[in-house]
Symmetry: C2
DNA sequence: ATTTAATTACCTACCAGTCAGTAAGTAGCC
DNA sequence: GGCTACTTACTGACTGGTAGGTAATTAAAT
């Protein structure tokens, strides 16, 4: 027997189950507008759980409450679907951070702290946080989407925080650290926590209070680079 | 066309290429003792690059300088090979950290700093560092190996560092932070750097000096939790 | 009645796993 | 030292099941 993939304890579906054949309600509905987003959401969740290669199109279809054939009405093939997932999930991740920065007034300390906490909260809330783990896992296999992700999410966020740190150094709040290094230290615990959440989280005995972790991080990091 | 996996720009093989059919040297040699380790090394590298499902047994065989059939002489099936890779790669990762701790005498500050730096150096040097990324990617698909890895590597390392932090708090070097949170902050940048190295590293414009990053981390973190 | 979103049945490339065969090594014999 | 008989590490063509992708068909909506 060919054991291609590890068996997965498939979780609950995202979409409601379709009515049975005999029922009065139609077996399916035509919902051309809603399908793409539903499929992309289901695809993100499934890809994040099992990785690209181990994910079956049919499983995504099932979760999106749609048949396999329908998948190919909206996406040319599996890889195109993957690319669309990356592009689609990226948007919410990018937008939040920037608008926080624009809105903020005050010290660099407070700004940094506020960005980190809000960033975590939006990661915590959104399934898009799974994208990070997904990209880490598939980076080598998909250079195109990876470049896009690195450029539009990672580098962009890093640039934002680098500016904050530079400002803090300039006006004497922070000591003279190399900003391109310090920014990675600021980011690391949050990024790792979100990767964690999508891989080992459930295995650990007690669900740690990750928000408290991020708060301690902001505090500790700021003390660490304070003048 | 079935696009099952992304095409991989297969890198140089680990084992020397076998001589061609006509040559004087034998087409293969009997090296029963050396095979398992060679296969495991090739398997680790290949799994780390592409992930479990996208990795073909034949590709691992090629890199190990062996035929596909031979793979099945040494490992029952693909999953057994994967499990063996995890178990085999774990040993060097665990050993180092503990012996460092045993050897060290001095302040908690110095001990912590020394553990972090030495840990990074061994991660940097060893291909076993790829195991972290691999486990992050495959955690959901392989509960067994994941449990083993979490228990024998993560929790063990965390416990070691937690002890150091506790000691530091007790003897007044560090302020009263929650050790189980602080330890994660200490670990995060290093873990993330090693994941980085195996996913995005090559894509980035300039290869950052990661050791300098770890040094700055140790310094910043210690300032951050200092009393 | 017509259009087309969605389904279902089907095709086929791919790869994990198998096994009959081959040749590298080895020991016994002269 | 050289020849032969034997063992077994190793090879690679082959198979079967799985899952990506397609085409014929159905039924929702207007």
């Amino acid at each position: 027997m060919a054991v291609r993939r590890a068996p997965k304890p498939s979780l609950a579906t995202l979409a409601p189950p379709r009515p049975a054949r005999g029922s009065r309600t139609p077996r399916w509905r035509r919902r051309k507008a809603a399908r793409p987003a539903e499929i992309l959401d289901a695809a993100l969740a499934t890809f994040v759980e099992g990785g690209y290669a181990a994910t079956r199109i049919e499983e995504i279809a099932r979760r999106a409450g749609v048949s396999k054939g329908t998948m190919y009405l909206y996406f040319r093939n599996k890889e195109a679907l993957f690319r669309a997932v990356v592009a689609h999930s990226m948007v919410p991740m990018v937008e939040r951070g920037e608008e926080i920065a624009r809105a903020h007034r005050g010290s660099s300390r407070d700004l940094l702290s506020s960005i980190l906490l809000t960033w975590w909260d939006s990661l915590e809330a959104s399934p898009a946080s799974g994208l990070t783990k997904l990209m880490v896992a598939e980076a080598r296999n998909f250079p195109g989407p990876t470049r896009l992700f690195v450029k539009e999410v990672f580098l962009r966020r890093r640039r934002l925080l680098t500016r904050v740190i530079r400002r803090g150094i300039r006006n004497g709040e922070f000591r003279r650290v190399r900003p391109e290094l310090a920014v990675r230290l600021a980011i690391a615990p949050i990024l790792l926590a979100s990767i964690w959440k999508h891989s080992f989280q459930q295995r650990e005995s007690q669900p740690l209070d990750l928000r408290a972790l991020v708060r301690l991080h902001a505090e500790t990091f700021l003390r660490g680079i304070a003048k």
